[in-house]
Amino acid sequence: MQNWPNATLHVVTGKGGTGKTTIAAALAIALAKNGHRTILMEVEGRQGIAQLFDTPPLPYEERKIAVAPGGGEVWALAVDTEDALLDYLEMFYKLRRAGSALRKMGAVDFATTIAPGLRDVLLTGKACEVVKRKEKKQDNAYDYVILDAPPTGRITRFLNVNGEVSGLAKVGPIKSHADSVMSVIASEQSAIHLVTLLEEMPVQETLDGVSELEAAALPVGAIFVNMTRPPQLDAQQRVMAIAGQLPRSEIESEISQSGLTATNQLIDALLNEASDHSERVDLEITELERLTERGLPIFTLPLLPSGIDLGGLYELSAIMSASGIGGE
């Protein structure tokens, strides 16, 4: 990705409902373009990826879910906390069998409830393991790892695992595990992207989130402005539309030339919609200015009137590619 030449791990966060999962998926496709291999990971147990790609629920196993233009591949993984903990117990304590017994007792859930930091370090740890994994000892298994992450309100805590485990064991495997996670997440290998709508609340939350991430020395990538309504009218037309000064008779005669009947009902509808649209666009422009002031790269994705299906994802990823994401 041109703005982050070295970033392998792309973390996607944002206020709930702004399109994190959608943007993460479109990004995974865009980055896979031209023969790359990417993996899209989710960590919240929602099976959002399966729903989006219209496949059966994903197991805790890497699966190919889509192809990208130019021979790329998109893989997916739904990380499950319990499985990640069992992996961990196996890796550090050779405790796989005891692990399954613990799971039956509900102990895994219990441990991650007492210490939410443990859950986070396991989940981020899995992402970092995938980032670092080598194929045949030289190539990375994946060119890019895209993480559909928790929402903005929790992202800093989620990623800043060192702080998270500081209340836990001060020495030993968990601490060194956290250190190795931080060596990926807080480095040039990572970029944290925030998805927002051009509305007051999500924009405010995004700006607060950026400050928090920066204060924790975590690498902020770009802002993805989602579901924008491309302006149909220019600035001057918008002023006139809001003031009710669009040239009614001119519009009437053009409607007649277009093959429709210029009823009052139709003209009123068009003028009202123009005013409504203009107010909305002006609001979006104001919010976009607030974001621009932060000086981060901004990518804009339109609201697709037909909603998001597989075709819509490819459409968004093509827009990303056209704005320079993915490159080569």
Partner: protein, 374 residues
């Protein structure tokens, strides 16, 4: 089926309205708008909000975060108070009111308690329930409208308190925190061996200090107040009462409606009273008798002939909105097909955010508009 919201708001038997739905759909806005409307219809209302937008909070006078309701000025007829939930403060108050100062101090300074009260999954829902119970007990308001936390999903609001409650009162927590009492008490020997591994692995993972903190916390609260689970159950019972009404809010989007459907089914299953579904931010399009294709064809004709770019743009805008509306209506119809008994009330998307009393009144009027054409 349409929703007669004014009938609910003015029904003296109704004392609690819960607004729920997935994140960002307009729960807080709806709760505030319902509160304002009910007050102006003569009720004495308290709105318990969780996360109002900054400007909305200011408009409602929620500038001081003292975790108690404050009167909102400028209300005709009844009265409106509003507060914003401070979950940590609410939890602290529960602790303080149930224990002597010394023990309260011990609990409040326990690191496990501090994590529990400020960042645990489920604590916000638990404390929202707790606060609701407190407000209801004060009997100063005859209607309390509760906004719900921005949970992962709407069902969390119903389930998180009980889940957290049974965790805190649970078997496992007692076993790891009372090794001296013997893990084997009441359980078979094999299970006892399992618990041996369990405590062993836990202390490896979490460190001995964390387990000690949990142990101290459990010992301290044990003697001070009844089970957490009982408290959560009591408020849950309040929600099942016929004086309560649930309003489910959804955006006219697939995911939000799927969540809403889960929630509706759950309310049904638990025989909880459902008022109806608010379909918030629908795309309104004035009726012109034209189809989307006709409108688009007209726009294309103008563009092809190089005439009237402004008119072509207006037609395209109109066609786009028709498409959005069609998709939304289709989703709404699918919801109704699956849940024919649920009253649905559409609320138009306003061009601006809703951040003052005038905006809330407008939403309130839309909520009560039974003739809304959509």
């Amino acid at each position: 089926m349409t929703l007669d919201i004014d009938a609910i708001l003015t029904n003296p038997e109704k004392h609690i309205i819960v607004c729920t739905g997935s994140g960002g759909v307009g729960k807080t806005t709806t709760a505030a708008a319902l509160g304002l409307r009910a007050a102006e219809l003569g009720r004495n209302v308290c709105v318990l909000t969780i996360d109002p937008a900054r400007r909305l909070a200011q408009a409602m006078g929620l500038t001081e975060l003292d975790n108690t309701p404050r009167a909102v000025a400028g209300i005709a007829n009844g009265s409106l108070s509003a507060m914003m939930l401070d979950m940590k403060r609410t939890f602290d108050e529960v602790v303080e009111s149930h224990s002597d100062p010394e023990r309260a101090e011990q609990i409040l300074s326990n690191p496990f308690y501090q994590a529990l009260s400020s960042s645990f999954a489920g604590t916000q829902e638990y404390m929202a329930m707790e606060k609701l119970g407190q407000l209801r007990a004060q009997s100063q308001w005859d209607l309390i409208i509760v906004d719900t936390p921005p949970s992962r999903n709407a069902l969390d609001f119903l389930d998180a308190p009980a889940r957290l409650g049974s965790f805190l009162d649970g078997r496992l927590i007692r076993i790891i925190t009372a090794p001296a009492r013997g893990a084997g008490r009441g359980i078979g020997r094999i299970a006892a061996m399992g618990f041996g591994i369990f405590t062993n692995v836990l202390s490896k993972l979490l460190g001995a200090q964390v387990l000690a903190d949990v142990g101290n916390f459990v010992a301290d609260i044990d003697t001070t107040f009844g089970g957490f689970r009982e408290r959560a159950d009591a408020t849950y019972a309040l929600l099942k009462d016929s004086g309560t009404e649930f309003i489910v809010v959804a955006a006219p989007e697939r995911d939000a409606l799927r969540e809403a459907a889960y929630f509706v089914e759950r309310l049904n299953q638990d025989s909880m009273p459902l008022g109806g579904l608010i379909l918030n931010r629908v795309q309104e399009v004035p009726e012109t008798g034209l189809t989307q294709d006709q409108v688009l064809a007209a726009a294309q004709k103008l563009t092809a002939e190089g005439r009237g770019p402004l008119t072509a743009a207006l037609l395209e805008l109109h066609a786009q909105r028709m498409e959005i509306k069609e998709r939304q209506k289709h989703l709404a119809m699918r919801f109704t097909a699956a849940h024919p008994d649920v009253a649905v009330q559409p609320i138009p998307a306003m061009a601006q955010d809703v951040h003052d009393l005038a905006g809330l009144r407008e939403i309130g009027a839309a909520l009560a508009n039974q003739g809304i054409t959509w």
